[in-house]
């Protein structure tokens, strides 16, 4: 048996009838590849080593929209926002050296949050590789631990196969970021271009086989359960299994909670939606994780922010794990039944095996605990009687104005937890936030990408005053493109989450968390973006309405109470049972 190892052999091509050869430069081929993959928008920043590709983007500007961000990090987050709201592959492009290294935060974010993304970087000429040439950096080496796959192209002839492979790998199975580095000489080189989509890579199995036996075992456990609990994650959204999940939980009557990235897969108001799990999640699903008899995890990975102390996490429960990535099974929590494969297909097969049930008494326990949380926390967050504005009431107002139809793009910190806790989601793929990496500065550029991918939808960015200033320059992108994002900065003049921890665990030593902020209104206006500041409760409703009614981009600063805290809270290392309400 002869295994030929050329690039061609790694790709098993679909027969393409329209494949024809054209004599092109490498850089034009890059653009042709993107068009062949259905890319309509890409985000980036030009520079020396990527200029040939930019020259082609100039020629193809009617067909391919390049968005000039103000920093390469912004380009990655925009591509992520684009990908998260649409399910399509986000694309960003940068030059070599600093352009490439500036992508790393976004790539790491996409890796840990399983976001399909293709990043293209220019590289110095191949004869200069390793010579410490101007703007040379080993981006393949640097990006390796945070990419699903990466490849350096030094010959134009490699471009079609590598791009086809990149898009296939980024999107298939558990999605992730892929980086393609292209030397400048390969961009100039002429070759015979022919594009074929990639449908298979022999060393890569994107979706593991599902053993029907495991689905039967799962069904048996669920049918026998008295107190089943579903915890779903982003896997449901990535495999577009929302309807299947809904059918399963409705048939088996299972209370269902979500991880931060799973939010919006099932509407907030669904009677079986019992809220968010994790550090700042809801009281009931956290507490009752340690009382359920069968825990059904679907497309989630038992992150430490979800589980708290693993030694005391759901020890009483039988655990069923629906998972596409075999490496996640038994990684953090030992499972009794692992159902490998795509969530949508697995849930489809599970549904007919389930008995019709309603666990009313069990569901009632969630309701009781919700009431406790409501009285202790939610009432004060949403209907405060004290003077200072709360973050929660801003979210409530946004819910009212958008009727829960908006996509909410949040940054990282207190406002993020509040946004995820209180936003009303009636549409899937609507919670766009940096979950795994916790990247401050994510929201503003991500909102740009989200709005461009779904221009018909309202996209509201909820950002803290700290994170806002990490990528504030993207206001320039908003101004230049006219993208109609709504920007809400919840300003407490603090790095609020760190301050909260300092208050609770470091005896109120507020080390470097107080911010002396600029006049955000003046800054927004400097970019010719409509802007308004709210300091009083009476102004809130009309201001949010004004923002949503406004035709273009709008900046709304809400000055909230300075030292508000986010509760409930599971302190680091504590058990989910020890969730605190104050």
């Amino acid at each position: 048996m002869n295994f030929n190892l050329t690039m061609e052999a790694q790709l098993v091509h679909k027969k393409s009838t329209e494949a024809s050869t054209e004599h092109l430069s490498g850089s034009e081929a890059v653009v042709k590849c993107l068009l062949a993959e259905g890319v309509d928008t890409l985000y980036g920043y030009p520079g020396g080593a990527i200029m040939p590709v930019y020259d082609e983007l100039y020629k193809y500007q009617g067909k391919l929209n390049h968005v000039l961000t103000r920093h390469e990090q912004g380009a990655t987050h925009s591509a992520q926002g684009y990908a998260r709201i649409s399910g399509k592959v986000g694309v960003c492009i940068a030059t070599s050296g600093p352009g490439a290294t500036n992508l790393i935060t976004g790539i790491a974010d996409a890796q840990i949050d399983s976001t399909p993304m293709v990043c293209i970087t220019g590289q110095v000429g191949s004869h200069l590789l390793g010579s410490d040439a101007f703007q040379e950096t080993d981006i393949i080496g640097i990006s390796t631990p945070v990419t699903k796959w990466n490849y350096q192209i030094t010959k134009a002839s490699e471009i079609p196969e590598v791009f086809a492979k990149a898009f296939y790998i980024a999107k298939s199975g558990r999605p992730g970021p892929v980086l393609i580095d292209i030397t400048k000489d390969a961009q100039f080189e002429m070759f015979d271009f022919e594009y074929k989509k990639c449908t298979k890579v022999r060393s890569y199995k994107p979706v593991p086989n599902t053993e029907y036996d495991s689905i039967e075992k799962a069904a048996l456990l669920i049918n026998q359960a008295q107190k089943p609990l579903v915890v779903w994650g982003q896997g449901v959204i990535l495999s577009e299994a929302e309807e299947q999940l809904k059918a399963v939980i409705e048939k088996a009557g299972i209370p269902s909670a979500w991880t931060i990235l799973g939010a919006s897969a099932i509407p907030t108001e669904h009677p079986l939606n019992v809220g968010m799990v994790g550090m700042h999640g809801n009281y009931a699903p956290n507490k009752l994780t340690n009382e359920c008899d069968v825990l059904i995890a679907i497309g989630m990975r038992f992150d430490d922010r979800v589980t708290g102390n693993l030694e005391t996490y759901a020890k009483q429960a039988k655990v069923i794990h629906f998972e596409i990535d075999p490496a996640e099974v038994d990684k953090n929590v030992k499972t009794n039944v692992a159902v490998l494969g795509d969530a949508k297909r697995s849930l489809e097969k599970l549904l007919p095996l389930l008995e019709q049930k309603s666990h009313l008494e069990w569901l009632n326990q969630f309701e009781k605990l919700y009431q406790i949380e409501y009285n202790k926390v939610i009432a004060n967050d949403l209907h405060p009687t004290k003077k200072g504005l709360t973050m929660g009431e801003v979210l409530k107002e946004i819910n009212t104005q958008t009727k829960g139809q908006a996509a909410i793009v949040s940054d990282v910190g207190q406002h993020q937890m509040i946004a995820c806790r209180y936003a009303n989601f009636n549409v899937t793929k609507s919670n766009i936030t940096s979950g795994g990496l916790g990247t401050m500065g994510f929201a503003l550029p991500a909102a740009i990408g989200a709005k461009m991918a779904a221009p018909q939808r309202d996209v509201v960015a909820i950002i803290g005053d700290g994170g806002y200033q990490m990528t504030i320059q993207e206001l320039g992108t908003i101004f230049q493109t006219g993208v109609a994002v709504k920007i809400v900065v919840l300003n407490n003049d603090f790095l609020g989450m760190v301050r909260q921890w300092q208050q609770l665990f470091f005896d109120k030593r507020y080390a470097s968390t107080e911010l002396v902020n600029p006049d955000f209104i003046t800054i927004a206006k400097g970019y010719h973006i409509e802007a308004k500041r709210v300091t009083k409760r009476e102004e809130l409703a009309t201001s949010v309405k004004e923002m949503m009614d406004h035709d273009g981009a709008f900046f709304l600063e809400v000055c909230v109470e300075k030292e508000g805290n986010v509760f409930p809270m599971i302190p680091t290392g504590a058990s989910v049972s020890d969730i605190r309400l104050e």
């Binding site: 048996m1 030929n4 190892l5 390796t144 699903k148 199995k205 075999p326 490496a327």
Partner: protein
């Protein structure tokens, strides 16, 4: 959990950068690689890696999962010493005078089953293959005579059980 030596056999494509990708999986968990070897395998065009690490079984299972997740990795296995036949190889460079003048060193060479690779006026080179303990024993015995240079290869290992890698590859390329 008890830590012990595990040998990993990893079948991969032969691509630039894969060493970095695999070693990063260990580095990220602060696991020291005891030895690493990359070579051709029984299948044309497929690279076989032999990596030795000292970890717990739980760790090695998770690491295998992370390695197999890499796009260019075809399959990864882990084995205990009992499950494999393994060898290391080493070279000693020693002054030639000793070989001719010292009877004892001749006996050591004979008893150790080491092989003289080359001899010239100044030095001779001794090659020894075997398990780590055998190599180390010879090292200790020769040390008192003065070793000009010493080098030892990483472990290479084959398993007693069949690895169904060819069948697997046929299935994916079909």
């Amino acid at each position: 959990m008890k830590e012990q030596l595990y040998t990993l056999s990893i079948y991969t494509e032969n691509n630039v950068g894969l060493l970095n990708r695999i070693s990063a999986i260990f580095q990220r968990r602060k696991i020291n690689i005891e030895s690493i070897n990359s070579s051709i395998s029984e299948i044309e065009g497929i690279t076989r890696w032999s990596i030795v690490v000292e970890v717990s079984e739980e760790q090695i299972r998770k690491i295998i999962g992370q390695i197999e997740k890499q796009v260019e990795v075809i399959r990864a296995y882990y084995h205990t010493d009992e499950e494999t036949i393994y060898q290391e190889s080493c070279l000693f460079k020693i002054k030639s005078d000793l070989l001719f003048e010292d009877r004892q060193i001749q006996n050591i060479i004979k008893e150790s089953n080491a092989r003289i690779v080359t001899v010239n006026r100044e030095f001779f080179v001794l090659e020894k293959s075997g398990r780590k303990s055998e190599v180390e024993l010879l090292y200790r015995e020769l040390k008192s005579f003065g070793i000009m240079q010493f080098v030892r290869s990483g472990r290479i290992a084959v398993t007693k059980e069949e690895l169904k890698i060819s069948t697997l590859l046929k299935a994916v390329t079909a």
